[in-house]
């Protein structure tokens, strides 16, 4: 029964466990155990679905929720794209959940608040899994709303006025974006009469020539809506405050996965619903490439002057999101596969960066890079994780970022346009410019004398935290050294998206 309904279970298990958690708020150990168990079950489910996709080569498993067939019911599609993102979500959120064990209570304060944090965390994971699988427009909107509200809750979970302010700004802009998306969906529904992605796509192919203005409006509403949610360059204003004022595990999942969920939604809307032909017709691909290039450069330049470590990482997310959008806009199999691979790789890297930064900040109580001199000697594993993730982000061979960038560059060369290639390499140099100083300060500068008193009571990461950092490092190295099966999956997904219709 579980195997037959696995696509539904992958979504429902995190949602259900998340909702019942507050009942056990007094027994924090039990809550933590349940969270890790739900995450592990999700990862196992995602792995099994990936196995099914590999075994079935080429045919999608379409699961009908409640047994209602396609035009009326909601479909979950298990294809390469869904499985790829699902694996990324589960493989990255499991270490983040592990990292929170034992040290979250200090950061958010109190058992009940901790349990609520976990509720929001699992709701977000469930919604992200749903976004990967769903094949229904309105279902996508509902999942996006669940994810948005959980994200806002996670941002404000510290309860400080600064966090409340950041959460409010985020909530207002994210709800504005949701309204844009829902009106875009409304336009699609009005002209096609369908909410199922496949049927809506067929409908659009039939009517777009008679109603080009409505299609144009729908595309622009959806593009701006999801662009605002996933911090595409000119629309990124909310991100640095929201991601840097959240507790570190929340920053990790927000920057690593939540942003990516909206990007996957946009990818499905553009390629599956509107289709590559309409994208070219309305030159969405040009817009994505231009915005992506602007994001890579501007995000990195804005990250340079930040002295607050988490703010620097948050601006770096703005820059890295640009790479993925650039790949989405290339309309080329290699470029799109590279973008998907980069998306997974950045999810692991940025989570590792935020988690290790959080461990350093909570151990020393210092948030500024300039105050972290010599921390590598006191917390070798944490600093090593930070270094490995930084090298991955810059794109040194053997690390996962390199493979993604390689395919992105191949893709952009295939299209015969050299500017994206130049921008990708320039972005890597800028990335090195804002991350190497942190590594230099951490390893090669001797601690200031004032720090020496504190070093005695410096609290390093616990066993669970170390395991979590090791797992994320393992993901980064596995993606970098044996990328074969993952690239194959990403290429399958890219081919399916480009072939669609």
């Amino acid at each position: 029964m579980i195997a037959d309904n696995l696509p539904a279970f992958v979504i429902i298990v995190p949602l259900f466990v998340g909702v019942v958690l507050p009942v056990f708020a007094r027994r924090l150990r039990l809550v933590e155990g349940l969270v890790v168990l739900a995450e592990a079950a999700g990862l196992a489910g995602a792995g099994f679905l990936a196995y099914i996709v590999f075994a079935q080569k080429g045919t999608d498993w379409v699961y009908q929720l409640g047994g209602w067939p396609a035009p009326w019911g909601i479909e979950l599609t298990v294809n390469s794209l869904a499985v790829f993102f699902l694996l990324a979500v589960m493989a990255v959120s499991l270490p983040i959940a592990l990292f929170t064990i034992g040290n979250l209570k200090e950061e958010v304060g109190g058992n009940r608040r901790t349990a609520r944090f976990y509720t929001l965390f699992l709701l977000l994971v469930g919604a992200l899994a749903g976004m990967a699988l769903t094949n229904d427009l309105f279902n996508t909107y509902v999942l996006v709303e669940v994810a948005t509200l959980s994200c806002c809750g996670l941002v404000s979970s510290r309860g400080t006025p600064r966090a409340a302010e950041a959460a409010f700004t985020y909530l207002i802009l994210a709800t504005l974006a949701s309204s844009l998306v829902v009106i875009g969906i409304g336009f699609i529904y009005v002209i096609t009469g369908h909410l199922n992605m496949g049927f809506a796509s067929q409908g659009l192919a039939e009517v777009w020539q008679t109603k080009p203005h409505v299609v144009w409006l729908a595309i622009s509403f959806v593009l701006v809506g999801f662009g605002l949610k996933s911090a595409l360059f000119p629309l990124h204003v909310w991100l640095p405050d929201a991601h840097s004022s959240a507790p570190s595990p929340a920053s990790a999942i927000l920057s690593g996965l939540a942003v990516k969920g909206y990007m996957i939604c946009l990818l499905k809307f553009l390629y599956v619903v509107f289709g590559p032909d309409l994208m070219k017709e309305f030159s969405v691909d040009r817009i994505l490439v231009l915005a992506g290039m602007a994001a890579i450069i501007c995000g990195a330049v804005m990250a340079l002057p930040q002295d607050n470590l988490k703010r620097r990482l948050a601006f770096s997310t703005v820059s890295q999101v640009g790479y993925i959008y650039l790949g989405f806009g290339l309309m080329d199999e290699n470029g799109l596969a590279g973008a998907l691979f980069y998306l997974a790789s950045h999810a692991a890297i940025k989570s590792a960066l935020f988690l290790s930064a959080g461990a350093m900040i909570s151990a020393t109580g210092k948030k500024k890079i300039s105050e972290m001199a010599g921390i590598g000697r006191e917390m070798p594993l944490t600093a090593a994780a930070f270094t490995a993730a930084s090298l991955g982000l810059i794109g040194i061979p053997m690390f996962s970022g390199f493979v993604g960038k390689w395919y992105l560059i191949t893709g952009s060369l295939d299209t015969g346009d050299f500017l994206p290639t130049v921008i990708i390499i320039a972005g890597s140099v800028l990335c090195a410019a804002y991350l190497f100083p942190v590594i230099r300060v951490a390893w090669f500068e001797s601690p200031q004398t004032a720090n020496q008193e504190n070093t005695a009571q410096l609290k390093g990461p616990g066993a669970a935290q170390k395991l979590a950092l090791l797992m994320l490092m393992a993901v980064i190295f596995i993606l970098g050294i044996v990328p074969g099966p993952f690239i194959a999956l990403a290429k399958n997904a890219a081919a399916e998206l480009l072939m669609f219709r």
Binding site: F138, V142, E145, L149, C152, G153, S156, G159, P161, R162, A164, E165, A167, F168, L171, I172, T175, L176, S178, S179, V182, I183, G186, F187, Y189, V190, L195
Partner: protein, 133 residues
């Protein structure tokens, strides 16, 4: 070929939905009072409801219930209304959460004006950093 004006008059619910949406977006982006921003969000939500429900409406249609006396009756498409019920639930939870955040901010700063809050917060962080020096 219909003129633009005729098209607008025939499709007036969509026109009103877009006007409402524009009002909502303007309110959100130009007002600095947090309550007014929240009201703007709700106005935008209403625009979405009108759009969907107008799309489901059939002029002269009845409610979508099977009448044994008149089985061939034209009925209104119930799907958009059901969808908007979900939309309203989402909107209610967003409003509740935003209100709780506003209360939190009001308790801390004694105002609901975004610009004033930003100014007060900057003063606080500046004095913090000067203390540290």
């Amino acid at each position: 070929m219909k003129t633009l004006l005729e098209k607008l008059i025939i499709n007036y619910p969509y026109f009103f939905a877009m006007v409402l949406f524009a009002i909502g977006v303007l309110t959100v982006l130009t007002r600095s009072n947090l309550f007014k921003k929240l009201l703007g969000i709700n106005i935008m939500g209403s625009a979405g409801y009108i759009l969907f429900i107008a799309a489901g409406n059939i002029r002269g249609g009845t409610e979508p219930i099977l009448h044994t006396s008149d089985p061939g009756a034209v009925y209104v498409n119930p799907l958009p209304s059901a969808l908007m019920l979900t939309g309203i639930v989402v909107s209610v939870s967003v409003t509740a959460f935003a209100l709780s955040l506003i209360i939190r901010l009001y308790k801390e700063y004694g105002t609901t004006d975004a610009q004033r809050i930003a100014r007060m917060r900057n003063e606080v962080t500046e004095s913090d950093s000067s203390d540290r020096r």
